[in-house]
């Protein structure tokens, strides 16, 4: 659990947008995993199984409708300023991060989830397909659409 806590929390944070709600959801993920540990099949990676639980839980929460929290990004990602950067670089980096977080938050839930799992959490296409119970082609397609959306919104920050 210690090994997986940050990953699960990260997915929840990026999907739900607030640290408090993310912690609550992450805790629920581990409690569900604890109760359903008998269902865990050894042929899958534990991390993939946990991602699957976290993904379903987040999508369900988002689909429940009563919440559309701020996704302005000011707390969605931990921003650790580089100690060696100049103030100008720092400002640019800050702006870029804000734009990036906003762009991610504005993605549809399905696309955001795929891009988070792939580009932020580093899962393979196969692992994402397994966790979300999707066809490989669907994963590939959703990921590409998500990246194209992000590319458009982050155009001015690209070199």
């Amino acid at each position: 659990m210690i090994a997986h806590q940050h990953r699960v929390f990260g997915v929840a944070l990026r999907m739900l947008g607030s640290r408090a709600e993310a912690e609550e959801a992450a805790q629920e993920v581990f409690l569900r995993a604890h109760r359903a540990i008998a269902d865990f099949r050894g042929d899958a990676k534990l991390s993939t199984w946990l991602y699957a639980i976290a993904s379903r839980l987040c999508l369900n929460r988002l689909a429940s409708g009563e919440r559309r929290l701020l996704r302005e990004g000011e707390e969605t990602l931990a921003r650790i300023p580089s100690g060696h950067a100049s103030p100008a670089d720092e400002l640019e980096r800050s702006e870029r991060d804000a734009a990036l977080h906003r762009a991610i938050a504005e993605l549809s839930d399905e696309r955001r989830l795929v891009v988070v799992l792939r580009d932020l959490e580093g899962l393979s296409y196969e692992e994402i397909a397994a966790a979300l119970d999707l066809e490989l082609g669907t994963v590939r397609s959703r990921l590409h659409r998500a990246r194209l959306d992000l590319k458009e919104k982050l155009e001015r920050f690209l070199p």
Binding site: M1, H6, F9, G10, A26, Q27, Y125, H144, L158
Partner: protein, 379 residues
């Protein structure tokens, strides 16, 4: 491969997720299409931006909180939760249940106590009458068993106890009745279970009452018979009665007392009893069990000089082989209880007639070997 087809594969190309054939085709197109190469670069930069995002870290203490939440609560807390939560629902229900049980227990207890009292009442209350009237105490089974043959202290103690019990009964009986009444009026759920005990209690009381009535009838007949045969010879308890009276009112009261005694007694009224006058006993300490057995013979001797008559009587007894058992002081004069052999009885009657005006009041149809005689000496 067209540009749209090639651009669809660019993400997979970046992720190295294409098969060799697909990859070859896309790379062949890119080699010829500067626009698609530029698109690939922009996409790569975007992915690089994404991957540069600092990974999120769970807040400090997250694992502990999860473990705390996953660990089952200590059993006392779980028990309390199970019993009380949600308390707005469970608390009133549980309180109502406790009250219900308490009421039920109280009701059953009262019903049982009533039952005991009903029995107790049957044996003790008539004693009150007897004691209140300072009449000769009746021989009841209990009294006969408990009372030693002679000691007066035990007798006094028992009388006190009897009075005490009677007082308690008097105090408790109305309360009990009221309680039973209120219980019967209440339409409570536990009433369904209660009628058994209540009915039992009532049945027991009725039964007791019936028994008492039957005994009373027997005793009344018995006593009436005895009184008719020997009205003046009612034995008395000196320390209670002090003296014997021969007035009709007194006889009537004695009869009532006897009836009450018979009611209280669990033994049939016709059962033989310990006879006060059969065995010589100190006059001051007749036990409770030695009451109301009429003598074989009783009579009244009217004389001019009582003292002289008593002396003559003493000499007469000595001559005839009789024994004076006890002597009381009555209203009209001394009362002598004596025992005399049957063979000397005719002589006794003759001599008594010589002493004064002799009036035979009672004589048993069959006289025993040792005849008990009660003489009332008047002037």
């Amino acid at each position: 491969m067209t540009c749209p087809d090639a651009r669809e594969q660019l993400s997979a190309l970046i992720d190295d997720a294409l098969g060799a054939e697909e990859r070859g085709a896309v790379e062949a197109h890119l080699a010829t299409c500067a626009e698609c190469r530029r698109e690939l670069e922009r996409l790569r930069d975007t992915v690089a931006l994404l991957r540069a995002v600092e990974p999120a870290r769970a807040p400090a203490g997250f694992v502990d909180r999860v473990l705390e939440a996953a660990r089952p609560a200590p059993w006392p807390r779980r028990l309390v939760r199970a019993l009380l939560l949600p308390w707005p629902v469970k608390l009133p229900v549980e309180a109502a249940a406790i009250v219900l049980v308490a009421v039920g227990v109280a009701y059953v207890f009262q019903a049982t106590q009533g039952l005991q009292q009903a029995r107790h009442l049957g044996s003790v209350q008539p004693m009150t009458t007897a004691s209140d009237q300072a009449a000769p105490a009746p021989p009841s089974q209990d009294a006969a068993r408990e009372a030693p043959p002679t000691p007066g202290a035990a007798r006094a103690k028992q009388t006190a106890r009897t009075l005490e019990g009677a007082r308690q009964n008097k105090e408790q009986a109305p309360g009990q009745k009221a309680l039973e009444k209120s219980a019967s009026e209440k339409e409570t759920p536990e009433k369904k279970g209660a009628p058994t005990s209540q009915a039992f209690s009532e049945a027991a009381q009725h039964k007791d009452a019936d028994e008492r009535r039957a005994k009373l009838d027997d005793a009344s007949r018995d006593v009436a018979k005895r009184q008719a045969n020997a009205p003046p010879a009612t034995p008395a308890e000196p320390q209670v009665a002090g003296k014997l009276e021969e007035s009709p009112a007194r006889a009537e009261r004695s009869q009532e007392a006897a009836a009450a005694r018979a009611r209280s007694s669990a033994a049939p009224a016709s059962e033989p009893r310990v006879d006060t006058l059969q065995a010589p006993r100190p006059a001051a300490t007749p036990p409770m069990a030695t009451a109301f057995v009429p003598p074989d013979v009783s009579g009244r001797l009217a004389v001019a000089n009582r003292d002289a008559a008593l002396q003559d009587l003493a000499r007469l007894l000595a001559r005839l082989g009789g024994v004076e058992d006890r002597r009381f002081v009555g209203d009209e004069g001394p009362i002598i209880e004596l025992t005399i052999p049957r063979e000397a009885y005719p002589d006794l009657l003759r001599e008594l007639a010589a002493l004064g005006r002799w009036q035979l009041i009672r004589e048993a149809p069959a006289l025993p070997e040792k005849i008990r005689v009660v003489l009332r000496i008047t002037s």
